[in-house]
Amino acid sequence: MNKPLSTLTLKDFASDQEVRWCPGCGDYAILKTMQKLMPELNRPKENQVFISGIGCSSRFPYYMNTYGFHTIHGRAPAIATGVKLANPELDVWVITGDGDGFSIGGNHILHVIRRNVDLQILLFNNQTYGLTKGQYSPTSELGTRSPSSPEGSTDSPLSPCHVAFGSGGTFVARSIDTEARHLSATVKKAHAHQGAAFIEILQNCPIYNDGIFEQVKDKKLAPDFRVEIEHGQPIVFGQDNEKAIYLNRETLSLEIITTAGNEEKVLVHDETNKSQGQLLAAMSGPDLPVAVGVLYRAERPSFTEESERQLGKARSTSASLQALLHSGHTWDVK
């Protein structure tokens, strides 16, 4: 038997496996945050299931002392759907990366979000293929030089959060690998959400893409390049919150204004407003700060809830194999 829930600590969620990520990898920070958060969720340890695909981030389940399945490239959302379908009591976590989730597994990620399967998707976005040695990924900036694009990549990146929006996502959020407090709070909200909760985690790859998110992570730079959004709160940023986001209703675009004297004009975050969430998700440097936090959240019956409801209805009728085999036209030979 497992220990009582109230006595679980971080250590109970760390497996005995040696962690094999490169020194300095952002994945260490995410792992620590998740192991620390687990006891706080107050859910049975045996009900936690981590499903991953292939890539650096997908090694994650090996390091969690929970149930885990390290599967095949891109397919974690489909496998997780099967797990949840078989046992809706389980807390299912999908661990994926930008290549795994949005290139080879793009079809599955959009369908798991569309269906609103009740699970959490943690996308470790480091804008590179780490495990295969640094090729450009579907989230790499145009012109990224890599072993497979020595003269610069020629394909434009996609925006994971916008794919989630476009797929009808009911929970779309963004956070940062090393911002433990913010990440933990965001994941906690995702876990509480009924339906598919999608979190893009900006994650540093110190080997192939070091410093790609430096502006939003660096203690000195971040206040000017990152804005933390909170439902019902004005969207302000800068060293002393001197800057704010303003919605220009003529151009349907976001602009930066000075907070002082403009208090009335400052946009207040409404996480139930999808259009606003999409505008905030699109903000990026150098013109606009990168938004982190819950961009959008909506209440919609989850796939899990709906399929269980249909199942409950079907199972309220009697099930006799004998009766099934004899259903319809039969005849007796004496």
Binding site: M1, N2, S15, Q17, P44, K45, E46, N47, Q48, V49, I51, I54, P61, Y62, M64, N65, T66, Y67, G68, F69, H70, T71, I72, R75, P77, A78, I79, A80, T81, G82, V83, K84, L85, A86, N87, E89, L90, N107, H108, H111, S307, Q310, L311, A314, R315, T317, S318, A319, L321, Q322, L324, L325, H326, G328, H329, T330, W331, D332, V333, K334
Partner: protein, 628 residues
């Protein structure tokens, strides 16, 4: 061996009583031929004949009216003796238009009966069927019995009281023709009337119009003056063992077998699939039976379907996925994951004409190699094949038993013919089906995910939600000892050997190969697998009746093969293997047993005819005689 056809001794329509009859209903894909045939089959089963049906339809849902490529047909072979194929040639052809006539006439016996709707033999339709002159008038049908009726006109007058309008009225043509054929063979119309009432429960005027058309067709037979030689035929009832029977298609039998398997194993079943012809109907059937331990999931693609099934198996249910050739190709990686992580999984392949899109509605056995070998790495998997529509039930239960007992993916081979064909089935007593309850592992003391049963070599099945058994598995090679990731060279050798030994060991847990017709020694063994059963059975039976020493062996377990198969085949001077491919199973038999087996191969999208196999038996037999 070259494929040639021998014409069988046919029972002609000169007599009032005939032993067996083949009827083919053919018309436009929108003419309702499948509905017509299904109802006739139902009435025939209730009459007490043995029967076998073969729906033969185009991939196009509604092809242009009158086009030859849009002809949809339903063939039924019924009679007083055991019937295992849909018949080599036709005794009766119901052709609703010129295209249906021109595409099927070649298969009608001399003196056979043609029933046509002369109203559809318009200049336009004749041109579409590439007829230069009207065959109803130019004497080209003189060798046949011809019943040319303006069915369109008859139907319009029969359904007039229901006020349906011209177009809807004409849609009752097929049921009018059905009424006439029911008169011809003295079938009871009541079950059809009942099923029409159910089918059109929300549209009583349509139901009533169809019933009126059915009765009018029947009355036409009774009252009209028909040409000489066309009368009611009596087909004596078949002698079958006592019991309760029903008609069943391979698809339904397979779905019900999976349900039965989950009941007998006491394991929930999660069926995940993606629509593909001819496999989709398994999903359609299962989705209506969720009162059992069944959950269904229509995935976004074939890959997601197999992966959801693997996920369900990881979570403690039995994941099942189903598709046809091209879809199975996409599932290969997911199947290998289940093999590597040692989880149960059933993959149903309803084979169709390939490669690529090939011929989606036509049958073939060309996925044998893929089922056995179509994966990366050394990944042997058990493979079982159903041989008749009703056999699908038992084979599905076997697949569940093997998958859960050995913690392995199992490939179940069916095909387009088995999926759609139907035959009477003596309904088994559910109580007599042997149960094989499966227990998930719960013992915390000493648990590791690499624990396995010493006898079966099956890995433990510890499902998420079980306290104290938290563990990780995956596609990376695992240590034999601990189940943790291992790149150790010796360990990989050991695990590869283990996976092979596990599958090979299943041979001790399956029945020895039997001879299904004839002696277990003799001159010639005709060895089949899958849906070739019916034609081989009839051919061997006829050859035996001629005094030839021929036996029929039908192999259900394709991997691993039954322990005694090699020895059994060596009891015969020659081995003939008919397959609906270019020779796939035969290569396995030749390499496994060093037997100089000869193949008879057909890839035409159509099942073997009895006469084709009989001709091969005669030819091989003659060679054997001249050698000795």
């Amino acid at each position: 061996m070259q494929l040639v056809e021998e014409k069988l001794d046919e029972h002609h329509l000169d007599e009032k009583e005939v032993v067996d009859v083949v009827v083919r209903f053919a018309g436009d894909s929108g003419d309702g031929m499948q509905l017509t045939g299904t109802n006739f089959a139902q009435a025939t089963a209730l009459y007490g004949n043995d029967l076998s049906t073969f729906p033969d339809f185009p991939a196009e849902i509604r092809a242009p009216v009158g086009a030859t490529f849009g002809v949809s047909a339903f063939q039924i072979y019924f009679g007083a003796e055991d019937i295992t194929t849909a018949g080599d040639s036709l005794d009766v052809l119901v052709a609703m238009n010129p295209a249906a006539l021109v595409t099927n006439l070649g298969n009608l016996i001399t003196g056979g009966l043609i029933i046509v709707d002369s109203g559809s033999f318009t200049a336009k339709n004749l041109t579409k069927a590439k007829y230069k002159t009207n065959p109803l008038e130019d004497g080209s049908l003189n060798g046949f019995r011809l019943l040319s009726i303006d069915i369109s006109k008859q139907v319009l007058s029969a359904v007039e009281p229901f006020g349906l309008g011209h177009k809807s009225s004409l849609r009752c043509k097929n049921i009018w023709a059905l009424g006439l054929v029911m008169w011809l063979f003295d079938r009871d119309r009541d079950p059809t009337i009942e099923s029409l009432k159910t089918k059109f429960a929300n549209k009583p005027e349509i139901a009533n119009a169809n019933i009126a058309a059915l009765n009018a067709g029947h009355a036409y037979g009774e009252t009209a003056e028909l040409p000489t030689g066309i009368h009611v035929y009596k087909v004596p009832k078949a002698k079958v063992s006592p019991g309760t029977y029903r008609n069943i298609t391979g698809t339904t039998a397979l779905a019900w077998g999976l349900i039965a398997g989950s009941e007998l194993s006491e394991i929930d079943l999660v069926f995940a699939s993606y629509p593909i012809t001819p496999a989709s109907n398994v999903l359609h059937e299962l989705v209506t039976h969720k009162q059992f331990r069944v959950k269904t999931f229509q995935a976004e693609d074939e890959i997601a379907a197999v992966c959801a099934a693997v996920g369900a198996s990881f979570a403690g249910s039995l994941g099942v996925t189903s598709s046809s050739g091209p879809g199975i190709t996409l599932k290969a990686e997911g199947m290998a994951l289940a093999a590597a992580s040692e989880l149960p999984l059933i993959v149903v392949d309803s084979q169709r004409g390939g490669p690529s899109t090939g011929m989606p509605t036509k049958t073939e056995q060309s996925d044998f190699n893929m089922a056995l070998y179509g994966r990366h790495g050394d990944t042997p998997l058990p493979v079982v094949a159903a041989s008749t529509p009703t056999d699908c039930f038992e084979v599905a239960i076997e697949a569940v038993r093997i998958a859960t007992k050995y913690m392995t993916p199992v490939v179940l081979l069916s095909d387009g013919y088995l999926a759609n064909a139907s035959e009477p089935w003596q309904i088994p007593d559910v109580e007599s089906l042997p149960a094989f309850p499966v227990k998930h592992f719960t013992e915390v003391e000493g648990f590791k995910p690499s624990l396995r049963d010493e006898e079966t070599l099956a890995r433990v099945w510890a499902k998420p939600g079980t306290p104290g058994l938290e563990h990780r598995i995956g596609g990376i090679e695992r240590s034999y000892e601990t189940g943790d990731i291992s790149y150790d060279p010796e360990n990989h050798q050991k695990m590869t050997d283990l996976r092979a030994a596990k599958v090979e060991g299943i041979a001790d847990d399956i029945p020895l190969q039997d001879v299904c017709y004839g002696k277990d020694t003799g001159k010639l063994a005709v060895v089949g697998w899958g849906s070739t059963f019916g034609a081989i059975h009839q051919a061997v039976k006829r050859a035996s009746a001629e005094g030839l020493e021929v036996s029929h062996i039908q192999v259900r377990y394709l991997c691993p093969l039954p322990r005694n198969l090699g020895e059994l085949l060596n009891n015969f001077e020659a081995v003939l293997i008919p397959e609906m491919n270019t020779g796939q199973f035969i290569r396995l038999i030749r390499s496994e047993y060093l037997i100089d087996a000869i193949g008879l191969n057909k890839v035409a999208g159509q099942p073997f005819k009895i006469g084709e196999i009989l001709a091969a038996i005669h030819q091989k037999y003659a060679e054997l005689k001249s050698e000795s």
